[in-house]
Each structure stands twice: as structure tokens, then as C-alpha cells.
Amino acid sequence: MSTSAITPVPFGRRIKRFMADRPLVPLIILLVILVVILQILRPGIVNERWIANTIKFAIPLAILAGCQTMTMLTGGIDLSVGTVATMSAFIMATQIVSQDPAIAFLLAMMPAVLIGLVNGIGVGVFRVHPLIMTLGTSLIGTGCLQVYQRTVIASGAKIPGFLAWLGTGVTSGFPNALLLFVPLAALIVFTLARTGFGRLLYAVGDNERATRLSGVQYWQVITALYVTSSLLAGITGLLYIGLIKAPSLSLAEPLVLPSVAAAVIGGTSIFGGRGGYTGTIIGALILTVLTTLLTILQMPEGARRILFGLIVLFVTAAYLRIVEER
């Protein structure tokens, strides 16, 4: 078979292999294509302000998708992130009226820790399917929030100035939210790639039995993971309320399914053990640009959702095709 080494590999195959080796490349190409389509449809729309705006809206989605990435690495999923984000945002907006900002922040983070802890114990100790566990806790959380809303209905709500600054402000072309997101993203990428905890997440997702037999305390890893995920969701809530500026009981709920989609598009396997956060960030950007694109096309809401679903499906299928070539 020595001749096969000499025969030049066909160009198409070479491209495919190149893309399979660098899964980020096709994603970036897709993102660029979307932006180019946008520019063709509305010449001049792609400018500094538009880019800042897109990044602003992509950041909360990207952080929530980070929660999904980390949980999906272990073969799980966290559907309670929407409720957690909404809860911390709502509590922050209502407690800031009467409390010191630091105390309001702590109060806002409390439900996040609690829900994360319950999720972690349910999944890690009792071995409940993460999908069910997190859906259940999000149901409980929503109920608690509704009860809580009654108690603060008289005191009203306001958006703290620094959150509005962080969420919507733009300093010399760069959205302020990047101040929060860049360190956070760096931390996630670093944790996943370079620390023991990150390795454990991959290991648990890849082969749980082997991991446990090699002495890893499964429940500790899972509990730590879901608490981290919830904390990230809580922080996202605070950022998102600064961006949206209208506290409501379903504030971050529309972000949940797109966050799963972003992680999947970004190349994280829903069965665990494979993926990373950089892909997820690009996935979140793709989804945000896609939403803009569909809005600009002035489609009815229904057609927009159909297209959104089809594109998520198509991108995932195409991506699997490319990666599986390896």
C-alpha cells in the first residue's frame, strides 16, 4: 500500500479532513457566511454599532450555553438555567430597592446555589436523569418566584445603575459586558482544558464506570458541576436584566432552548465526553446573527421559528458529518 501515500489526496477530502481536525473552522466560516448574507440583504448594516449590539445580545446566551456545555460534557443537561437566571434577576431588581447592593447580590445568588445543590444531589447521589431533575427544579423555582412576587408587589423594582451600565453600556466601541464575559470565558476554557476538575468532567462523560473505579467521587464532581452551572446562570440573570431592563417572571426562559442549541452547534456532544467552550461561544454568535437575519427578513413569527429549528437541525447534522470523518 505504499503507493497510496504517493497518490495525492483529492482536494475535497483534504478540505474535509482539515475541517475535521479543526472543528472551529467550519463554524467560523458559517458565521462569516451569515454576516455576509446579512450585509447583502441590508447593505451597510454591518458596522461597529451593529457588531457591538450583536455581541451584547450574544453574551448572556453564551454564558448560559457554557452551563450547557459543562453539563453536557458529563452527559447531562441543565434546563433550570432559565429559571435560575430569572430568579436572580428578579430578586436583584426588587431587593435593591430596600437593601444594600452587596446584600441584594447575595440574596440574588442564594436561589442559584440552592437549585444547583438540589440538582447536583439529585443527579449525583440519587442518579435521577438530569433532564428530569433540572426541569423539576425549574418548575419549583418558578412557583417560588410567583409566591415571592406577591410579597414585593408593593415595593416595586428598579434596575441597579451598574447592571444597566454593564448590560447595555458601550465604551469606545466595546460593550461593557465583555469586561465580565472575557474573564469568565477564559476561566471556563482554562478550567475545562487545564485543571483537574475539567478533566474529571470529560472523564465522567466519557466513561463513568471507569472514572468511578479509578477512585473519583462521582457525586462530588456532579454536585460541584451543577452548583457552578447555577451560579453562572445567576450571574447571567444579573447581566441580562441590565440588558433587557424589564424584570418579569419569564425573563430568561426564552434563552434556555437556544442555549442548548448553541452548545450543540458548537460541537459539544450531548452524550458527553466531547466538546469545548470556544465552539459554544461561536455557536451563540451564530444563533444571535441568525435571529437578526430572520428578523430583518420580516418573516412572520411562525416562519421564523420553523427556520430556526430547521437550521439548528441542519447545522448539527452537517457538523456531525464533518467531525465523524475523523
Partner: protein, 323 residues
């Protein structure tokens, strides 16, 4: 007998729980009678079909996140087709909508098999697509339902020779549910196809090696799920008289009832009876909480807590059983 008890232990436990809940309901509200039972059966109807849809897929080792959206789409389709049409026209609408559910469900399965994308992602994408389609059919709650369809699930079944007191406890909705489920489920369970569905849920590789057409069976399982979801959508239109394009809380409820009903989420285990009884249990708990005059928001918390606790308990039992 002990074999039977061991196999059906979970369902028997659920039935006992249901009876305890009925007794509790009578204690809370001594006036709880046949009429209330009828409205319970009507309220359960769409949930039960959603659960049946989820059960088939879960037994086959998958999950269907598009159940609620499928119900919304079939419901609005039925309602908008029947709006302003004659009563006889509805006779055509019902099979059309059911066929639509079957085809869309099969499409779910086909996409999973052909694209090899995980089922969670495919059905999630379909959730968006179906929701969007529902919004295109009707952008606000509306439409109508034929009178005979509405009459089909209201009132009771008169059985000659039985006193009215017993008759009153047989709401038509319950009969519709039992007939629709049995006509599909019982022959299926006994057929080769039913066995194949259990087989691919239990171990896809083993099923493949013993000659089960895995891909075809998976597509059929999803098609059946779509069919049950279409029944659920029709039930929604029948009980409300309109169609609403926004999906109800049926996804979470269906998954919770499937787990509570003793169907393993890994696939290959359980039956349809358990999840259906579980739906009644969950709805009756809600009724009890309402009768106790508990704030509806607190009811949501309690309901969620019960579901989570039950699921945890179930997982714990399975874990102990394995050791």
C-alpha cells in the same frame, strides 16, 4: 402470583396511591362526587395522550421533546378546519389530523435515523418547527370544534341495566381515553412490532444482531408517538372548543408521568398502564391542593416538589435493585 406482583409491583403501588388519594379527596371534600370525577377525567385526557406519546418513544430508548408542540399544531389545525364548517366535515377532519400526527411523528423518527443527530436535538429542533407551524395556522387562540366532538367527552356513558348511581362514575372522557389507547396499544404490545420496540430500547446492538429492523422500528415508534400526540391535540380542541398555538405544560408533565409510571428513561422497560395511572395521581394531587384552598402558586411548588421527590425515590429504588 409472586412473579406477577414483582413485575407489576410498581403499577399496583401506584393504583394503591391513587385509591388513597381518592379517599383523601373524599375526606377533604365530602361532597366530591361523580361530577367532579367526570371533570377530572376530562382534565386528564390531553395529559394522558401526551404521556402515551412520550411512553412509546421512551420505551424505544428515545425521548420526544416535541410532544407539546405537536399537540398544539394538531389542535390548531383541527380547530381552524372545523371553524365555520359543517358537522359532517368534522368526520373528515379527525382522520386527517390523526394522519398528520402520524406523518409528522414519522418525520421525527426519519430525521433521527437519517441524520444520526441525537434524538434530543432532533425533537428540540422539531419543537421549534412545529411551534412555528402552529403559529402560521393560527396566530391567536381561535377556531371551533364540531358539537358532536365536544359531546363525545362530556357527560357519562349510559349502560342499560345499571343504576344511574354507578353510571354516573363512568364519564365519557374516560371511555374515550381507554378505547383510543387500547385499540392501539394492546394489539401493538402483542405483536412482533411491539416486541421490537422494547428490544431496541433495551439494547440497540442486541436487537440489531437478532435481526430486528432497528431503523424502521425507531421510525414507527416516533410515528406512534405523533399519532398519540395528535389524539392529545384533538382532545384539547374537544375540551376547550378552540385551538391555541402556544403549547401547554404537557412536555414536563409527560416526562414526569412516564418516570412516575415506572418506565425507565433508558428504555426497554415499563408499560402504558403505569404512566396513565401516574397522570391521574398527579392531576388528583392538584385537585386536592385546590380543594384545600391552597394558593395556586404554592400548588405549583408542591406539585414540582412531589414530582422531583417521586423521581428521586424511583431512581433510588432502581439503584438499590441493581446492587
Amino acid at each position: 402470583m409472586s412473579h406477577f406482583l414483582r413485575r407489576q409491583g410498581w403499577v399496583i403501588g401506584l393504583l394503591a396511591l391513587l385509591i388513597v388519594l381518592f379517599i383523601a379527596t373524599r375526606i377533604i371534600q365530602p361532597g366530591y362526587g361523580s361530577g367532579d370525577f367526570g371533570s377530572l377525567a376530562r382534565a386528564v385526557l390531553p395529559y394522558a395522550f401526551a404521556v402515551a406519546a412520550q411512553t412509546v418513544v421512551v420505551i424505544a430508548g428515545g425521548i420526544d421533546l416535541s410532544v407539546a408542540a405537536m399537540m398544539a399544531l394538531t389542535s390548531v389545525t383541527a380547530a381552524s378546519m372545523m371553524a365555520g364548517a359543517s358537522e359532517e366535515y368534522a368526520l373528515l377532519v379527525v382522520p386527517f389530523v390523526l394522519a398528520m400526527g402520524l406523518v409528522l411523528g414519522a418525520l421525527n423518527g426519519l430525521l433521527i435515523v437519517v441524520t444520526r443527530v441525537p434524538d434530543i436535538v432532533v425533537t428540540l429542533a422539531m419543537l421549534f418547527v412545529l411551534q412555528g407551524a402552529a403559529l402560521l395556522v393560527l396566530d391567536a387562540p381561535g377556531g371551533a370544534a364540531a358539537e358532536w366532538l365536544k359531546a363525545l367527552i362530556s357527560g357519562t356513558v349510559p349502560i342499560p341495566g345499571l343504576p344511574d348511581a354507578i353510571d354516573a362514575w363512568l364519564p365519557k372522557a374516560l371511555l374515550v381515553l381507554v378505547v383510543c389507547l387500547c385499540v392501539i396499544w394492546v394489539p401493538l404490545r402483542r405483536s412482533r412490532l411491539g416486541l421490537s420496540i422494547y428490544a431496541i430500547g433495551s439494547s440497540e446492538l442486541a436487537a440489531f444482531r437478532s435481526g430486528v429492523p432497528v431503523k424502521r422500528t425507531r421510525i414507527i415508534a416516533y410515528a406512534l408517538s405523533g399519532l398519540f400526540a395528535a389524539f392529545g391535540g384533538l382532545a384539547l380542541t374537544m375540551s376547550t372548543g378552540i385551538g391555541a398555538p402556544i403549547p401547554g405544560p404537557y412536555l414536563l408533565a409527560s416526562v414526569a408521568a412516564v418516570v412516575l409510571g415506572g418506565v425507565a428513561l433508558g428504555g426497554g422497560k415499563g408499560g402504558l398502564l403505569g404512566p396513565i395511572v401516574a397522570v391521574f395521581v398527579l392531576r388528583l394531587v392538584r385537585t386536592d391542593l385546590t380543594l384545600l384552598a391552597i394558593d395556586p402558586n404554592v400548588t405549583a411548588i408542591i406539585e414540582g416538589a412531589i414530582m422531583v421527590a417521586v423521581v428521586m425515590f424511583g431512581a433510588f429504588i432502581t439503584m438499590r435493585g441493581r446492587q
